[in-house]
């Protein structure tokens, strides 16, 4: 039987709300969306093919350029996988500095995601506040690592540079300021009646649907699934990490989970800085032949690298699984379906924080 479709509306690839090219095709009945399909393929660069056969010194920088927003975690997962293969020990000071860099990266990524959402629902004031806050986090990242975006801070056996005493004090002062401002902005988001109209009860992803689509990261945690790879990471276990979970399942919950995680990241950075031991920041070791599957928690969810190296430290085989693809699936099969208007489609799509660059690589 032929399906009755009023209009087939394509959104993208060049769209004011999307940072990156993706195409969402919506089948609508009146204003109600009854089916959606996401078309990818505008960003395929074949980065895994470039990586094969190259030494780890080159692949390390290529791994960072899988995704520019969450570059630190790509670096961290690749380097920690190499360390697991070679049995390289990391000094305790370097372990804590890695967590500091990773959490700063998570903070700026979550602030950017919440900025995009507020920009999409046309709340530009809050969006600009959040973007201003993000610049302060980028300053801290730059002071720690020396670069704003692709910083290559971690290397096998440790980190590249130490944190100075004055930078440490600056970081404490800056984190206090960021926290007080963020409390205010989170309150604005929580209590804003117009924001609630655009966010509460929209883009529902039930727990069963989230399990079915294998949703990860804040998208899954907003649907009541306590899944977080950081709970299996030894340094985070020492810091007593527990994932943030909400049960509202809508756009509002996804944004609030991100806000809560930023507060959690601030606490983790403070715990790391106060527990920082004196000592070396880089140990020794060699990268040897081996094969491993290693996961870490990116700002968007679980990130997995499958790596096979030869005895010279060259990467023979590499496969990357990035979190966004599962969230995009969850988005087009559950969250968008039943949206009351086309305007909700873009905001729901952005609330899942899809990163097209790392989805297609």
């Amino acid at each position: 039987m032929k399906r009755t479709v009023d209009v087939n509306i394509p959104l993208g690839p060049v769209h004011p709300c999307f940072k990156e090219p993706a195409r969402v095709k919506c089948e609508t009945k009146g204003e109600r969306v009854i089916a959606a399909e996401v078309e990818l393929g505008y960003m395929k660069k074949g980065i895994e093919r470039i990586m094969k056969g190259r030494p780890w010194q080159e692949v390390m920088f290529l791994a960072e350029r899988v995704c520019g927003i969450c570059s630190v975690i790509h670096n961290m997962v690749f380097i920690e996988a190499l360390e697991q293969i070679g049995g390289i020990a990391v000094p305790p000071r370097a372990r804590y500095l890695r967590v500091v860099a990773n959490e700063l990266d998570r903070m700026q990524s979550h602030l950017l995601a919440n900025f995009s959402y507020c920009y999409t629902i046309e709340h530009e004031t809050l969006a600009m506040y959040l973007l201003d806050l993000r610049e302060q986090v980028m300053d801290l990242l730059e002071r720690l690592t020396g670069a704003r975006v692709t910083c290559a801070y971690m290397i096998p056996g440790g980190v590249r540079c130490d944190i100075h005493q004055e930078n440490q004090e600056f970081m404490h002062v800056s984190l206090d300021r960021i926290e007080t401002e963020l409390v205010r902005y989170t309150g604005m988001f929580e209590t804003g009646p117009m924001i609630a109209l655009r966010s509460r009860g929209i883009g529902i992803l039930t727990q069963e649907a989230a399990y079915q689509a294998h949703a990860v990261g804040p998208t899954a945690r907003a649907s009541g699934i306590a899944v977080d790879q950081r709970t299996q990471h030894p340094t985070y276990m020492k810091l007593g990490f527990a994932p943030v979970v909400r049960h509202d399942c809508d756009n509002y919950a996804r944004i609030m989970v991100r806000f809560d995680e930023i507060f959690q990241s601030i606490q983790l950075i403070r715990a790391c800085l106060s527990g920082l031991q004196k000592g070396i920041i880089r140990g020794g070791g060699t990268c040897i032949a081996g094969e491993i599957r290693y996961s870490g928690e990116a700002p968007r969810g679980e990130l997995t690298y499958v790596i096979k190296t030869d005895e010279y430290g060259r990467v023979v085989e590499i496969q990357i699984q990035t979190p966004s693809i599962m969230n995009i699936e969850a988005c087009c099969h559950s969250m968008i379906i039943g949206a009351d208007s086309i305007a909700d489609v873009t905001s729901t799509f952005v609330s899942a924080d899809p990163c097209i660059a790392c989805t297609e690589r």
Partner: protein
């Protein structure tokens, strides 16, 4: 120079609409461009307005190493922009392909093979101030006296 041209120069120097298109980057330059919107850099104080509609844009910012998905899309997009117009390549990728321009990859840099590029901002990624500087330099060199230069 005619009075009309003087008025046009004056108006154009404070009203630049920017559209950006990502033709296969790692997102690093993307977020540095978004950071230009932040109150710290405040791109709108120069009269530059960033949105993503090519039909009313003056400046097209191209990011990324030109993947095959854009073969039939980037040139028509460039056609849709009304004159006077300029394209700026931001980052190393549209200039040389950067680390993606290797054997086995699916990219086809540089972007200047496909559309005319007026300014290039190297860097992986460049800082927001450098992107801002490039847009302002294009304003002075391309848009000022555009009718006179065309003749």
């Amino acid at each position: 120079m005619s009075i009309l041209q003087t008025i046009k120069n004056k108006v154009r120097s404070r009203s630049i609409h920017v559209s950006y298109v990502d033709v296969g980057s790692c997102n690093g330059c993307d977020i540095e461009l978004l950071a230009c919107l932040a109150p710290r850099y405040d791109i709108e104080q120069y009269g530059i307005f960033v949105h993503n509609n090519p039909r009313e844009a003056d400046v097209l910012i191209v990011i990324g190493a030109y993947t095959h998905g854009w073969e039939e899309k980037l040139a028509p997009l460039w056609e849709k922009i009304p004159d006077p117009k300029a394209a700026i390549a931001v980052g190393n990728c549209p200039i040389s392909g950067c680390c993606f321009n290797r054997r086995g990859s699916y990219v086809d840099p540089p972007v200047s093979k496909h559309i005319p590029i007026a300014a290039e901002v190297p860097g992986c990624p460049p800082r927001p101030t450098e992107i801002l500087n490039a847009i302002l330099s294009v304003r002075d060199s391309v848009f000022a006296d555009w009718e006179v230069k065309r003749r």
